[in-house]
Amino acid sequence: MAVARCKILLVEDDADVSDALAEILQLEGYEVALAFNGSEALGYLRQNPPPCVILLDLMMPIMDGYEFLNRRSGVPDLSAIPVFCISAGTMDERLRQLQTTHVFKKPLHLPTLLGAIRLTCPDGGTAA
């Protein structure tokens, strides 16, 4: 019987970062869904079963990561999904206020990020 692979929703506007990170996550055995901004991510979440983890870039056009987090907090199903933020910005006040969320700074320290994802999805990715 096939084991259901853990799914990660990657919300990142930069096509190259998204492409490269998705490839690594797939290599690690995760299934990856892509969204290019907060609005696309909400759309995805409305129509699909919840992912195990959301990787969320903060600075994005159309709907940024902060706005996505605001909208998510009002929906119980969504706020149950762990979110790891990734940010290339400087440590500003808004970033500091995200106390409850892990923030990984770009450039990403991959072992730490992958370690955190593995801890969150214990039956996580089966290496492809």
């Binding site: 506007d13 930069d14 096509a15 190259d16 970062v17 492409d19 490269a20 990170l21 490839e23 690594i24 290599l27 690690e28 600075m59 994005m60 056009p61 940024d64 290339a88 910005g89 400087t90 500003d92 770009k106 450039p107 990403l108 991959l110 290496a127």
Partner: protein, 455 residues
């Protein structure tokens, strides 16, 4: 420059600046006591060397007694030469037949000696009671030169005039020759300022006010500049870190794959191409920063001019940006069929087009983007028109400034340098860059270039 203020010792006068030369009109002996005693007390207490030339009705012995009552260690101060109190007879004997110039030079020498002796400056007073009618003209001439002599020196001079010995016009002469005058009226000292001083003070107040306004304005400008710089640093950090992140992820992905199994050459080539692409992206960002640094330090952007067909260059640039426009949902229309030749830097013009098209991708996604190249009055005119939200009212000039990101979203990416570089390049060719926009109905960016530089 701050002008050092010294206490006059007289509450009606307050502090005075070095170089002060003022006078008093006294009626009786008591008037001299209650002005000159505090005047010299203040000088002695503030490390000034003092010279008090007395005259009737308040002679040197009186002065020593009255000042001694106010300054307990007066005798020691006299002994060590901080103050000399002398009757005008004796002073006159010493001065002899000196000319006005010699007397004035005497003050300067005394001032220099005071400074050399470690004092802060020189404070002096003279009483003109002894002055006879026929000396008046010469003395008036001397007084008129005192103010100029004291200028720039650390001297404070107070001249005492006996009211009853002055005729009407004398008073006017005296007031004119001093910066201000004190008059004893109903037991109180009243300050009389000359018109010139009043005017100068008024002017000073006005200058002060203007200076304060300028300081306020400059401070606000600096605060704005700091805020723009902070915003820029935050944006620059984001912009530079993004390609570094994808570069790093591509490399790590490749290493991860290799660790598992040999990677097929075509897969490796595809990933290495992406890595190369990120290096190019970083290089472009760094070149943008170098352009700013060059232009900010007063230089023009370096130009490499050759014969160029702007229409052909535009078609190629549109093709290069085509993918990005498609992904942003823009419909691209290129109207550049007829050659428009001129002498320009083709790399820089590609930069202009890339920046204008990128601007449309960021600010006008999902709209129709029309690129036109025309020849108008021997000038090449390039227009990029989008159907986006347009430029907010009042921002048309500002969007061409460095680090400015107009529009409702500040986090659209980019350094905020794109349009600034467009304008710099246009101006370096002797041309101009403008925008025509109504909020809500798109923006048309036009770059107009002379066909030959300098024409």
């Amino acid at each position: 420059m701050e002008i050092e203020q010294r206490p006059s010792g007289m509450p009606e006068v307050g502090d005075v600046a070095w170089g002060a030369h003022f006078c008093q009109f006294y009626g009786q002996r008591e008037d001299l006591i209650d002005s000159l005693v505090p005047f010299f007390k203040a000088g002695l207490e503030h490390n000034e060397q003092c010279l008090w030339v007395t005259s009737e009705p308040f002679r040197a012995a009186d002065a020593r007694a009255m000042l001694g009552a106010a300054v307990r260690d007066l005798d020691q101060r006299i002994a060590r030469g901080q103050i000399e109190i002398i009757d005008h007879h004796d002073w006159y004997m010493r001065a002899g037949d000196r000319t006005a110039s010699e007397v004035l030079q005497g003050w300067v020498d005394r001032h220099d000696a005071a400074l050399a002796g470690g004092y802060d400056g020189l404070r002096l007073t003279g009483n003109t009671y002894w002055l006879e009618r026929n000396d008046w003209a010469g003395f008036r001439e001397y007084e008129s030169r005192v103010t100029r002599t004291f200028e720039g020196k650390r001297i404070i001079g107070l001249c005492s005039y006996c009211s009853s010995k002055c005729q009407g016009t004398d008073v006017l002469d005296v007031i004119r020759n001093h910066q201000f005058a004190l008059v004893r009226e109903d037991g109180e000292w009243q300050l009389i300022e000359s018109a010139a001083l009043k005017e100068a003070k008024q002017e000073l107040r006005e200058l002060n006010r203007q200076l304060e306004d300028r300081v306020k304005q400059r401070t606000a400008e600096l605060e704005d500049a700091l805020q723009i710089r902070d915003q820029f640093l935050s944006v620059a950090s984001h912009e530079l870190k993004t390609p570094i992140t994808s570069l790093q992820l591509y490399v790590e992905g490749l290493l991860l794959s290799y660790a598992r199994e040999p990677v097929a050459p075509e897969v490796a080539t595809r990933r290495l191409d992406k890595i190369k692409g990120q290096c190019g992206r970083l290089e472009r960002l760094i070149n943008q920063l170098l352009d700013v640094s060059r232009a900010t330090s007063g230089g023009r952007l370096p130009m490499d001019v050759e014969d160029v067909d702007l229409a052909e260059l535009t078609r190629a640039a549109c093709e290069a940006s085509g993918e990005a426009l498609r992904r942003a949902g823009c419909e691209l229309v290129v109207d550049a069929d007829r050659p428009v030749n001129g002498s320009w830097d083709p790399m820089r013009l590609e930069q202009v087009l890339a920046n204008l098209l990128n601007n449309a991708v960021r600010h006008a996604p999902g709209t129709r983007v029309v690129v036109e190249v025309r020849e108008v009055d021997d000038r090449a005119v390039l227009t990029v028109r989008d159907g986006g939200p347009g430029v907010p009212e009042g921002e048309s000039a500002r969007i061409f400034e460095r680090f400015v990101q107009a529009g409702p979203r500040p986090d659209n990416g980019g350094f905020g340098l794109g349009l600034w570089i467009v304008r710099e390049i246009a101006e370096a060719h002797g041309g101009e860059a403008t925008v025509d926009s109504q909020p809500g109905s798109g923006a048309a960016f036009t770059v107009s270039l002379p066909r030959q530089p300098g024409s």
